[in-house]
Subunit: 286 residues, 2 copies
């Protein structure tokens, strides 16, 4: 455990101790900062305390934190901050962890301003197809991006927040705006989840064993989905999500049509374009 002295916040609070909140709490604890956790689920509170996180089913312990992470589903996050807005420490920094930013930022920014704290939209780009505190781990964020959508890009709180996030393992902090965030996430995160689900719904899927290998495993992985959370995320990001879905369907249709027409040239051209795109990622990178 390193000294807390090089961490720009002395008390941290985490609301919601699932995969993301639990991992944040565990990672925060390793930096030496004081961490308090809140979760409505009693089993989660017990598990978190057993793992050394001071957790409670009441939010009070979060009210003297200098930095508060909100790791709840979008609707719950908005409701939680609205209800407790008057109680958070004046001048504290609050960051949410929701997969979409548009509505969250729109709703929480004025509440924060009226209540004397700073709200910064946040999205840790790490996860797992398994959820809950039992899946949480202090190193979940190693090498990941943390996306921030602050009310202004020159906000003085960004620098200390970035310093803390790097101590939690994040390799980069990307500052953007909610609309661009939501468009990019529709492609990098929401579309792969929709693809995985549509894929395993194939009538061939139940018979895959013995006939499948890495391609099946990778594309189907995130079909182990949380239906409530992802329905909320897709619906909250309707326009960007549907634009990506439409483009995806069009590209699939083009591949299919080339095969139906026995048009080897058209097919190879499409595959070659895809290969070129993927080549930009390099071989050691995603």
């Amino acid at each position: 455990m390193k000294e807390a002295s090089d961490v720009p916040f002395s008390r941290a609070g985490v609301a919601g101790l699932g995969l993301i909140g639990g991992s944040l709490a565990l990672a925060l604890r390793q930096t030496g900062v004081q961490v308090a956790g809140f979760d409505l689920d009693e089993n989660t509170v017990v598990a978190a305390n057993a793992a050394g996180i001071k957790a409670s089913a009441l939010p009070d312990k979060l009210f003297d934190a200098d930095i508060v992470f909100i790791a709840l589903y979008p609707d719950a996050a908005i409701g939680f901050v609205r209800e407790n807005a008057a109680c958070f420490k004046k001048g504290c920094v609050m960051v949410d962890c929701c997969g979409i930013k548009g509505r969250i930022v729109e709703e929480l920014t004025p509440i924060a301003e009226a209540s004397g704290f700073t709200f910064i939209g946040g999205h840790p780009m790490a996860g797992s197809e398994f959820g809950g505190f039992r899946a949480a781990r202090a190193d979940l964020f190693a090498g990941a991006s943390f996306l921030l959508t602050p009310p202004a890009s020159d906000l003085p709180q960004i620098a200390p927040l970035e310093q803390l996030l790097r101590r939690l393992g994040f390799a980069q902090v990307v500052v953007t705006n909610p609309a661009h965030h939501d468009r990019m996430i529709a492609f990098t995160s929401q579309l792969p989840h929709a693809l995985a689900c549509a894929y395993v719904l194939s009538s061939s899927c139940p018979d895959h064993k013995g006939y499948s290998a890495g391609s099946y495993r990778d594309v189907s992985r995130v079909a182990h989905i949380n239906p409530t959370l992802w329905a909320e995320l897709f619906l909250e990001n309707k326009d960007a999500f549907c634009a990506e879905m439409d483009e995806m369907i069009n590209h699939l249709q083009a591949l299919r049509d080339a095969v139906v027409a026995d048009d080897r040239n058209a097919l190879e051209t499409l595959l070659r374009q895809a290969r070129k795109r993927k080549d930009r990622d390099g071989t050691g990178d995603s």
Copy 2:
């Protein structure tokens, strides 16, 4: 290196020393069986010899093998066997490695019968998004399935072949027929490759860095595709491939329509069905 005595063949030949053929040759060598390799590419021949495989740009060394693996693209495989049919050792077993089985089996079975050897359709369910002998490795097949489509399911050559394949690292050998093989592969292998390519063709893809994590990485992995090979595989399996593509497009459309209609119930129902399908895989398995 184990003794060759427990390997049911004493001389093996491998035609085509790319990722699959090269890996087979390296794995065969480790069992102690004598291995001869053939590849038209001189650099590949040099690299294979440097790795201890007796390789040549002429096929002659394959003609006294008891077991011959054909690891060439479908059209090239058929051409190679047809041209050299009279030269293979009488009574030898020949197994191809092509990703589709229908036409291969149809074309090569009568040639084998007329020429005095046994042809068994084969498909090792292992691979990589990287190709060529430089990507080959002796342990590529560890834990994988080898799919066989023999001319009869009680063929006496199946048992020794299975024994050899297990020595090469394969965890299971699945005996099926060409039509069923091709239907299953359309789902487990061809569709994920089409999805990966259609995915990276999105106009959002070039900007993904900083906004992407595991979901992007996994679904896009096999977009690092060999356009010539996969165009041939898709076209050779047109009916099964297009049936899977149509089902996929329909499921994507259903997800999209539920979002457009703000129909949370319909959306959650689809995601829950997908989750249930994926749950059947268990947590430690693909």
